[in-house]
């Protein structure tokens, strides 16, 4: 069964304290892996798409990496405005395809 697991469930950081969020997956026919940010009461906001092992994407304080079994979202020197839930999703399938979301990591950054 296709499965996406994110860890930790929640992460509390001090401003400037760098860390990483993990997304591990067990799927067949991976087409792509996505990272989203979701603020309370809003829909997910697209951050990155990764397609193959070894690929990396960066945006401001965020950097996403991908291996054959997992992806990391590295947050460098976070600020309070980075506080949100970060969702990982994988797109699978060969003919039709569907997207499976992980449960998310709630990040709290304290000033």
């Amino acid at each position: 069964e296709d499965q996406v697991t994110q860890s930790p469930e929640a992460l509390r950081l001090q401003e400037g304290e760098s860390s990483s969020l993990n997304c591990s997956y067990t799927v067949s026919g991976l087409r792509g892996l996505f990272w989203y940010r979701q603020d309370p009461g809003k829909g997910p906001e697209f951050l990155f798409t990764l397609y193959s092992a070894g690929e990396e994407k960066e945006k401001e304080r965020l950097k996403a990496t991908l291996t054959k079994k997992e992806s990391f979202l590295h947050i460098t020197a976070p600020k309070p405005e980075d506080s949100a839930t970060y969702l990982c999703a994988v797109q699978v399938g060969t003919g039709g395809f569907k997207t499976i979301f992980g449960a998310g990591t709630r990040l709290f950054v304290k000033a």
Binding site: F34, Y36, G41, K42, G43, P44, E45, F46, L47, F48, T49, L87, A89, G96, K98, T99, I100, F101, G102, A103, G104
Partner: protein, 112 residues
């Protein structure tokens, strides 16, 4: 990336009634998706909606309960029918853009 306008943003409904949620995309998209998100949980795909064909439903979701319309390439509706308190959730629509998937802002539904 595509921008999606979703409405209503929230509603409180009586059990046994139906609610239709609308999503308007600012560009033409082939596929649109409807998700449900329980409080504090992740997104569960309800169905995929292609223009000109019937929606494809995921396991556990049926057309009679969640009828979907997709009359053109920029618009879709999801109806939550014969609602019960268990249907209380956030409903989100999504469309594939150039670099990833764009989501509407969600509809927070409370059934009383």
């Amino acid at each position: 990336s595509a921008v999606i306008s979703q409405k209503p943003s929230r509603d409180i409904c009586q059990r046994g009634t139906s609610l239709t949620i609308q999503c308007q995309v600012d560009s033409q998209v082939t596929m649109m998706f409807w998700y449900r998100q329980q409080p504090g949980q992740s997104l569960t795909l309800i169905a995929t909606a292609n223009q000109g064909s019937e929606a494809t439903y995921e396991s556990g979701f049926v057309i009679d309960k969640f009828p979907i319309s997709r009359p053109n390439l920029t618009f879709s509706t999801l109806t939550v029918s014969n609602m019960s308190p268990e249907d209380s959730s956030i409903y989100l629509c999504s469309a594939q853009g150039d670099y990833g998937y764009t989501f509407g802002s969600g509809t927070r539904l409370t059934v009383v």
